[in-house]
Symmetry: C2
Subunit: 343 residues, 2 copies
Amino acid sequence: MGKIKTVKFKLNTFEYEKPFHITGSVSDKVNNVEVIIELENGILGYGEASPSFRVNGERFETLLSLEPIVNEMIKGKEVRNYRQIFDIIDRFFSFPSIKAAVQYAVLDAFSEEIGIPVYQLLGGSEEKIETDKTIGISSLDERILDAKKFFEEGFRTIKIKVGEDLKEDIEAIEAIYEITKGAKYIVDANMGYTPKQAVTFVNEIYKKGIDIHVFEQPVQRYDIEGLKFVRFKSPFPVSADESARTKHDVMRLIKEEAIDYVNIKLMKSGISDALSIVEIVKAANLRLMIGCMGESSLGINQSVHFALGTGAFDFHDLDSSLMLKEKEFRGKYKIQKPYYVAI
Amino acid sequence: MGKIKTVKFKLNTFEYEKPFHITGSVSDKVNNVEVIIELENGILGYGEASPSFRVNGERFETLLSLEPIVNEMIKGKEVRNYRQIFDIIDRFFSFPSIKAAVQYAVLDAFSEEIGIPVYQLLGGSEEKIETDKTIGISSLDERILDAKKFFEEGFRTIKIKVGEDLKEDIEAIEAIYEITKGAKYIVDANMGYTPKQAVTFVNEIYKKGIDIHVFEQPVQRYDIEGLKFVRFKSPFPVSADESARTKHDVMRLIKEEAIDYVNIKLMKSGISDALSIVEIVKAANLRLMIGCMGESSLGINQSVHFALGTGAFDFHDLDSSLMLKEKEFRGKYKIQKPYYVAI
């Protein structure tokens, strides 16, 4: 009845409203892979992979080539036995975004079959979450314009990309702060600083009386000692992002006492490892935020349901779909800026 | 619709077929608390608490007194938002068996409401699990009689209680081994040895060419250094049981590198911490078994569904209900010794 009949992959390209610049990368479009699982009873489940070459080493071309392999491995499986399918799909560890999309599509199909939304299958912790909005790297004037716009639109958590120029970054934070007082700030260096630059950065910001709620991935992903150095020198919580892809990464970061926060992204971990990371981080008395790559509303839907279901996150950085030109909104949630609301 | 209308507690007393003797404790009966959750739509969800004064500091008398307090805290909550209810019930951390029973009754009611068994709500990993059967502490002759009986009944994993007399324990293991070759052994000292006694014990068994699959809780619960000492000296995997009640206990044991295995018992952790511990232990590349206190079939049902759903366990020590006199079998599973099978 609830058995998987076919899995289809489909390439969807979306343009950014304007080029999105972070440390070491500028994007004007994303190539995402839509995953459609059809059950023998006709029910459809949807997922989306948004591959990141920079973070995951993934290319959409390779993801598309996996379609027949995924079909062969999970065809005929019952979606209600979803952990069996998760275990099979965990073997695609080199393609975590497709892992997320297929695992989510399984949950989505199960959810449709029994008439219970995915967020309630996952525990129904929350009815709404608040998303931030992200200011990319650009000129000071442009950063200020963005900040003003987002604040006026109602966003009260603002994510600021830094990491290419320490001095300009400090000036930008100060200028943004002046026109968005009352907002919370997540600052993301995307691995752009050395450990000592990162410590200088937070000390300068602290001296100006500005509070940073989460300081993301200040240093190179494999520099766990550097991450720990920054964590212990920083007055603000330090988060792993690029350093924390699998549950094993997170366990190591915890053992090394290298972090205060983990930024979970389904595109880095799939649903299975993301669920593990939630439990690990809470057991270690650390904190969680959830982020995204370049997902459209179809992919952000996955993280919205994951966050509503688990209720695990202090901050939700789920704004990629708000930055993309989309013909059609495909989320099973409502947008009431800055909130995403269960339906 | 799926809102909680009332929570009822009911005392059920069960006699053991014969007195059950482990290190520092002999029981001839158990006093369990049945939890019945009724939803506004008339659906009923069932759970069972089997309190352990020795392990959890719990008494059935105190559990019964919690009925009005639990009612007040979760009445009107939707069972499909089960993580919200779990979070509330987590505050009963001093009463982990009632935490397990209430949290499971919530899942059971949700399961009945949507017509999906609990084990599939939890992921549907397995269709059957194999349980062991336990030989309590007694005379050598009695231990041998038990071993013969269990082996003839088809049990192929035999749990052997030790910890009161090192010399007798070694003799008993050797004698049991001679008549049950091909079986797997879990040996449980229930905190009865000193670290050095425990190391002597495993070395003697090893010299005789006998394999122990899991060596449970050799030393006192708070002696984490002792546990680590035994772990690093033992040729057999060492498991925490009494030392591992909450997810925070387990995280500490992992950080201290004190264990190879964790014995999860819902009665020690509730459903919420048990789910966390599954994820934590797997992320740390360690192993899991699942055990029980004095649950009847109603309570063992909880662990059977948990184990089938998560598929997380190498060994299932779920035999308490097989040792109790019960008028009525109340599990939502089938017994095909030594297996418990999903229905």
